[in-house]
């Protein structure tokens, strides 16, 4: 991304330059209203930037909707507020596969395997809107990775979950990254979570990237005072 700006009534995001590389887990941290979710939505092409250039695999993202959909289909976004369709768990996980025209056998194989992996095989026929928060979020993640996206975007995926489900989801993320080489960008308020799972950490404040670097560096030896104060939990801005 180069020179990306997003303005509503006022400027909410200004990214001079950001490059995400394949296979990494990126953690985006920062205070509420810093622009983290906006950045995620722009990456997912759900929100168009006011100005700036966005490249995917080194090529500019076209304005054409059809081509945008093709790029969008290489990634998926799990929202903070889990929206599951009022259908069975199975149909929810199969949604993205059906949208991509996978055949029935492939859909059955992938959905069955994924539900097994997230420990929800027994609930395959259950209506998704009757699940607990943790189960729902596991279904949402399974649904988002069923079609093997190159880029998985997660917006506060463990907010309001109990420690058991947080651990399960963090394990899922790490496993997906390791086994399928899926690049992950996770927005989190929880700096400890970013430290636990991210390779690279991006600290955003007031719509701008203050600092980006390895998790080790950001948490032990940040360049900026603001970053140090934030990761130490002494937020004064």
């Amino acid at each position: 991304m180069e020179g990306i700006k997003k303005e509503y009534d006022q400027e909410v995001l200004k990214v001079d330059s950001l490059e995400l590389n394949k296979g990494f887990i990126y953690g985006i941290i920062g205070p509420s209203g810093a622009g983290k979710s906006t950045l995620l939505r722009i990456i997912n092409l759900l929100t168009a930037p006011t100005s700036g250039a966005y490249y995917f695999h080194g090529r500019p993202v076209p304005g054409n909707t059809r081509e945008q959909i093709n790029i969008q289909r290489k990634m998926s976004l799990v929202f903070q507020k889990t929206i599951l369709f009022k259908e069975s768990v199975w149909n929810n996980v199969a949604y993205g596969l059906k949208a991509r025209g996978y055949n029935r056998e492939e859909i059955n194989n992938r959905v069955g395997r994924l539900l097994d992996q997230v420990g929800l095989s027994d609930l395959a026929k259950r209506r998704a809107d009757t699940l607990s928060g943790g189960e729902a979020q596991r279904v949402a993640i399974a649904r988002s990775v069923a079609f093997d996206p190159e880029l998985l975007l997660l917006d506060e995926p463990t907010a309001n979950l109990d420690p058991y489900n947080i651990e399960l989801i963090e394990e899922m993320i790490a496993t997906l990254n390791r086994q399928k080489d899926i690049t992950v960008v996770i927005v989190t308020h929880n700096v400890f979570q970013a430290r636990r799972i991210a390779d690279q950490v991006i600290f955003i404040d007031k719509g701008e990237i203050v600092e980006m670097g390895s998790a080790e560096k950001i948490f032990t030896n940040p360049e900026h005072e603001k970053t140090r104060l934030y990761v130490e939990g002494r937020v004064v801005f």
Binding site: F79, K86, Y95, G96, A99, R127
Partner: protein, 232 residues
């Protein structure tokens, strides 16, 4: 009170005797209202979905218009259709005035704004976030819109039930454009008006009870479909 009791007895006698004139009135009422509600749903649901997914700012005026038309008095709706279909009207050549088709058109005019307006409200409540979820999973615009309609099916069915309840009980518009011609355009509501004017209160009450029973049966059916949508 005795008239009401006699009306109830009359209703049962009419039902048991399977009076051919009554059956004609009942079937015509059902044919007109069911046809109208199907056409109104075909028009109103996509329009409600389209408007519900547009930013509120851009659809403010048209939403207000639809909400206004939701409350259009049936006689006014009937008058508009009458003027359109009358011999001097722009659609007079079709010769539809005083036919069941004219009654269907009038009821479509009354039900469509209700279905559109209530679908719009239901879809606007959750539509944008469902569209975003669908798009983030790779759905194109057609699939994401269809997903929103499916997800809003309870509100949409509620809109259809409300629209049907309005037109099955409606009398002013069908009276104006249908003319209440025996054996051709007489439906239950217009028959009730006629029998009341004639002083045949028992028959009018009997017809009223049959109308209520039919409305109950059809709405129960739609309600069960709606509840089924919640459970499955």
């Amino acid at each position: 009170m005795s008239r009401l009791f006699e009306g109830i007895l009359e209703a049962f006698q009419l039902i048991i005797s399977l009076d051919p004139d009554l059956l004609h009135i009942v079937f015509l009422s059902l044919r007109v209202s069911i046809s109208a509600i199907i056409i109104a749903a075909i028009l109103g649901v996509p329009l409600g979905a389209f408007l519900g997914l547009k930013p509120e700012k851009k659809t403010r005026f048209i939403s207000k218009m639809i909400y206004t038309f939701m409350g259009i008095p049936p006689v006014v709706g009937g008058l508009i259709i009458y003027l359109l279909l009358s011999r001097q009207g722009p659609l007079g050549v079709l010769g539809l005035l005083y036919t069941p088709s004219a009654m269907i058109i009038a009821q479509v005019l009354l039900a469509t704004p209700i279905i559109t307006g209530l679908s719009l409200v239901g879809i606007r409540a959750k539509g944008p976030e469902i569209v975003e979820t669908a798009r983030s999973l790779g759905a194109d615009s057609i699939l994401s819109t269809w997903t929103v309609v499916k997800e809003s099916r309870l509100s949409i069915l509620g809109a259809i039930i409300t629209g049907f309840s309005r037109i099955i009980a409606e009398v002013g518009a069908v009276m104006i454009v249908g003319g209440n011609i025996a054996g051709r355009t007489r439906v239950m509501t217009t028959a009730i008006v006629l029998e009341t004017r004639r002083g045949n209160f028992e028959l009018a009450i009997g017809l009223g009870i049959i109308l209520l029973i039919l409305a109950f049966v059809i709405n129960s059916l739609l309600y069960n479909i709606q509840k089924g949508g919640q459970a499955n």
